[in-house]
């Protein structure tokens, strides 16, 4: 049992910290610190900064142009990035589609698409969910029917995050109605500029715009855009989801948020009565303890995955813990900001103490819904780990 990082790991941490300090534009850090999102141009600029350092595809193996880091280095990198309020790289490119292509895609697909993810040519979005298929993802109804060298796609996707910036979408489509619903699903790459595609914005509860619905009417997609084998898409889709979930553990981001919470508490709690202060302090202490415990749980899971890759059902555990802790932090920040949290940040003149705390809190209710809801994660744990 040794819970310390090696001197080599610590050197690496210093290297990353130094890099971020010198290269992260303060404007981007400010946006992230306030719970906002970079626009497309800004994120691509940040991608370019990381690319020049060779750290953009930091979770990829060397042979595909990545860093080849193991889980510990990757973790340190994530933590340092979060600590500095650095924007996260586009997960759809680097953490979702790329691993699927590397494992199941053709050589041509890897050669063509992976470099385009790195050089900023392609911005991918995720076309899994449909109005009638959320938790029950296997019930998707968007169809792809083979017609010569093409598929013809019809149907609707929804909740498509950052679709407004994307030029490409990876979709789960139905190619067969035979057998179990899972058996007729394929994984298809679609260029959003193809005729017959319409993207419409969905406004979120906090008034923001980050999700969309996408309509497909007789959209012609070259059959060469199929990943792996026809009707095998479900396997690839699940593989991708375990990657998506690990990212959702958000240990680094939660640590950063905890720091912010404690700073805010130090600043704002002076006006509170001694007992109210103690009650709030107890809440903060509880979440700090939960987070410290979870940090180790996360490291244990990562350590058990020999040679990188993604954990299996354990990722469900991390997703539940990670999202709940993060949501509790948002809830506490909102509390600490107190009365001023009522004011809209985007309002004409927000009060000095306003931090969009309410907006971030509501927006992050999504954490326990997407990537497979926490209820679904518990179903997975019940079945896969508990054997119930």
């Amino acid at each position: 049992m040794d819970t310390t990082f090696s001197p080599e790991d610590e050197d690496f941490r210093a290297l990353v910290r130094d890099f971020v300090e010198n290269n992260l534009p303060p404007e981007y850090a400010r946006i992230v610190a306030e719970g906002g999102y970079l626009n497309k141009e800004q994120l691509l600029d940040w991608h370019a900064i990381l690319r020049r350092q060779g750290w953009l595809a930091y979770n990829w193996p060397v042979e595909f142009g990545g860093t080849g880091w193991g889980p510990v280095k990757t973790h340190i990198f994530d933590e340092e990035m979060a600590r500095a309020d650095a924007p996260k790289v586009l997960a759809f490119n680097f953490k979702m589609l790329a691993p699927v292509l590397m494992k199941f895609g053709s050589q041509e697909q890897c050669d063509y698409y992976l470099p385009r993810m790195i050089d900023g040519t392609d911005w991918w979005c995720q076309g899994y969910s449909e109005p009638g298929a959320g938790s029950d993802l296997a019930s998707i109804r968007t169809t792809a029917v083979r017609d010569g060298d093409d598929y013809i796609v019809n149907g609707q996707k929804t909740w498509t995050t950052l679709g407004q910036y994307a030029n490409m979408i990876f979709c789960l489509v139905r190619t067969s109605n035979e057998g179990k619903p899972q058996a007729g699903i394929s994984f298809l790459l679609i260029d959003l500029a193809t005729p017959g595609i319409e993207m419409r914005p969905i406004r979120t509860i906090d008034g923001g715009y980050e999700i969309n619905e996408v309509f497909f009417t007789n959209v012609r997609v070259p059959a060469s855009n199929l990943v792996g084998a026809e009707n095998e898409g479900w396997t690839y889709a699940k593989y991708l989801l375990t990657y998506e979930r690990t990212g959702i553990a958000m240990v680094g981001a939660s640590k950063k948020k905890l720091t912010r919470l404690k700073d805010l508490f130090a600043e704002k709690s002076r006006s509170l009565s001694v007992h109210e202060k103690a009650l709030l302090a107890a809440r903060i202490a509880r979440v700090e303890i939960d987070l410290a415990n979870m940090d180790t749980t996360n490291m244990r899971v990562l350590a058990s995955v020999a040679g990188g890759g993604a954990p299996g059902a354990e990722s469900s555990m991390l997703k539940i813990l990670g999202s709940e802790i993060h949501q509790e932090l948002d809830s506490l920040i909102r509390r600490v900001v107190g009365r001023d949290a009522q004011a809209l940040r985007s309002g004409e003149q927000a009060p000095a103490g306003a931090t969009n705390a309410a907006g971030v809190y509501f927006n992050n209710r999504k954490l326990s819904i997407y990537g497979g809801s926490n209820e679904i994660q518990k179903n997975i744990i019940s079945k896969m780990i508990l054997g119930l």
Binding site: G134, W159, I205, S273, E276, G338, A343, A354, R365, S373
Partner: protein
């Protein structure tokens, strides 16, 4: 023991419910809530005409109700309809200040909806307004922060520190457009508005004093108790509305070939929501029953209620969004707006921790 409403009170509630059902739709509500004033004059006038403002006051005060259960019943219904019009800030709270100060002439105009007064309580908070006596009257300095719906009021009823300490406070009637008053309006997250009101050497005449000098503190506290009861009742109404919507959703949303309400995991979550809302309902009843009791009993019951609805309200909002899945995260879906107001209620008049701490101080610590 009787937990039913009187016939008159039930009629008022039914009238209000019908009005909301027929005339009050959420998308118009949201538009009005996002406007600079933060609510609709049309609905304001209609609600006044329906007699809703008189319900908060006794016959002696010029109204036709005035019991705590009247107040709670109306606000519960307003909550169910997510009514944004500031009956709490511009009628109930300010009306009770005017009544306690003996100004029934002004109160009468409040009850008809002709005048809108808003109370800016600034004699105890960290950001204080001080009133210094001058030859001609008073000079005011300081800031009253985050005064809800000041943007819609024609007169500010300011409680300022007029003597040596916070206990020495007086009410002043202030014209918001006067020189020396600077107001920053903020849109609020749940719709509506709140304002920081700054006073810089504002000179006012002695006429501006409401009631007698140095008597504001107890009056503010009484008015605050009414407001606290009202906001708790409003929260209860919102919870009921959210519960119904969520239940409907559980009964109709299909996943895995069955309605999601068939999943026991979700049934238990919803059962818990129901239990908690019933506890919140009882807390509001306890608070209403205590309003006219001794100061300690009243304060305790109100803190118990505000703590309960703060804790339970957040739970109900979070559970409702979660049980809806993605649709619960959208602006388009009405429930979310109820959830936002419900959570924001915990940011007004002291949150759950604040009231739990106050409760503890009565005889525990």
């Amino acid at each position: 023991m009787d937990f039913t409403h009187t016939e008159e009170r039930q009629m008022v509630v039914d009238t209000l419910a019908r009005y909301i059902q027929n005339e009050y739709n959420l998308s118009d509500r949201n538009d009005a809530a996002a406007s600079p004033q933060g609510f609709s004059d049309v609905h304001w006038n209609n609600l006044a005409e329906l007699g809703m403002f008189g319900v908060f006051f006794t016959e002696e005060q010029g109204g036709f109700g005035g019991s705590a259960f009247d107040v709670a019943a109306v606000f519960q219904e307003l909550g169910r309809g997510l009514v944004v019009e500031p009956l709490l800030d511009c009628v109930l709270r300010s009306g009770h200040v005017l009544a306690a100060a003996g100004d029934f002439e002004r109160l009468a105009k409040v009850i008809t909806g002709a005048s809108r007064y808003v109370v800016a309580q600034a004699h105890t908070t960290g950001d204080r307004v001080t009133a210094k006596q001058s030859e001609a009257g008073w000079i005011l300095n300081g800031t009253a922060p985050m005064v809800k719906f000041a943007a819609g009021a024609d007169t500010i009823v300011l409680s300022a520190q007029s003597g040596a300490d916070a206990a020495q406070a007086s009410f002043f009637l202030i014209d918001p457009t006067a020189n020396g008053v600077a107001i920053t309006h903020h849109d609020t997250f749940d719709g509506g508005s709140a304002s920081d009101i700054h006073f810089a050497d504002l000179a006012i005449s002695s006429d501006a004093l409401l009631g007698s000098a140095h008597h504001a503190d107890t009056i503010v506290r009484t008015a605050e108790n009414w407001a606290c009861l009202a906001i708790c009742a409003e929260a209860l109404g919102i919870m009921e509305a959210i519960k119904e919507t969520t239940l409907d959703y559980l009964r109709t949303r299909t996943q895995f070939g069955t309605v999601i309400g068939r999943f026991q995991a979700l049934q238990h979550r919803m059962a818990q929501v129901l239990l908690e809302i019933e506890q919140a309902r009882s807390a509001v009843i306890n608070a209403a029953a205590a309003v006219n009791k001794s100061e300690t009993d009243c304060d305790k019951a109100l803190s118990a209620a505000k703590y309960s609805i703060g804790r339970i309200g957040t739970l109900v909002a979070e559970e409702a969004i979660q049980l809806h899945g993605g649709i619960g995260m959208t602006w388009e879906y009405e429930m979310g707006h109820f959830a936002k107001r419900l959570v924001m209620i915990d940011h007004e008049m002291g949150n759950a921790d604040h009231h739990l701490a106050r409760y503890m101080q009565f005889d525990l610590v």
